[in-house]
Amino acid sequence: MPLKTLWHRMGSPRWMYQMSGSWVWVLGVMATVLLIVGSLWGLAFAPADYQQGNSFRIIYIHVPTAIVSQSTYMLLGAAGLVLLVWRMKLADMVLATAVPFGMSMTALALFTGAVWGKPTWGTWWVWDARTTSMLVLLFLYFGLYALRQAIPRQETAGRACAVLALVGVINIPIIKYSVDWWLTLHQPATFKLTEAPAMPPEMWLPLAVNVLGIYCLLGAVVLAALRLEILRRERDTQWVRELVAAR
């Protein structure tokens, strides 16, 4: 299929709904398997850290949730851009439905970080550059959620959220480089594109499995939420009526 045709089809909520039914299941099963394997591997089989002991095993949930919370935000930024430039209906739906997942992952990353900080740093919270910029990310998610609720007209709400999502993208490189720019308490990145991890493979392999798993979860949850939003907005069309009647 030519790329342009694919682009136009993807803009059709009905096409997206019909295509994505099986994707949700495939991604959901992959997420479940990968997350269970990665977590058990990390919890029971990875060696303990020579300094932190077993508390370091929190990394297998902390790092994946922190990574995916930022990727979800990048998805919102991309959706915002597509909405502002091409007025694609589907982009507005992504912008509306990916927020709760991203918000919950950011909260989870902050929570697991605090619980990890207590035995490691001796405190639940520090106003470190990394923790503070992650807190800003959580507030951006709150803002996107509240803004959508506050504006009744769908088109206006969509455009306002798109602008906020795009402006907030500036926070993502700040989070990423915060550990290099300000050498405070938070440790530097575990995975870098240009270097091998500083950990032995039996420590970082389960982490890689969980990162893959959480990306599958992102796909499954956001697609399922998107499908529901499509049904809600197309509720009065012939194809949704037929779908409802057939159940």
């Binding site: 029971a44 095993r57 929190i58 949930i61 997942f101 929570f111 697991t112 399922a224 409802v244």
Partner: protein, 60 residues
């Protein structure tokens, strides 16, 4: 296996409470995401079906 026994595994050195708290809350948050969507999806179909029935009754 990096632990001697199952009790060792649960204790996680002296960090059992921290580790299991993180994993427990993570399971709750992930399950919450999935279950909330499932509930909303069911409600949509229930309400849409009721609406269609009402409309059919009105037009009859």
């Amino acid at each position: 296996m990096s632990f001697e026994s199952f009790a060792d595994f649960l204790a996680m050195g002296k960090h059992g409470l921290y580790v299991w708290l993180c994993y427990g809350v993570a399971v709750l948050v992930i399950a919450g995401n999935v279950l909330a969507l499932r509930r909303q999806r069911r409600r949509f179909f229930r309400e849409a079906a009721a609406l269609q029935k009402r409309r059919e009754a009105d037009s009859a």
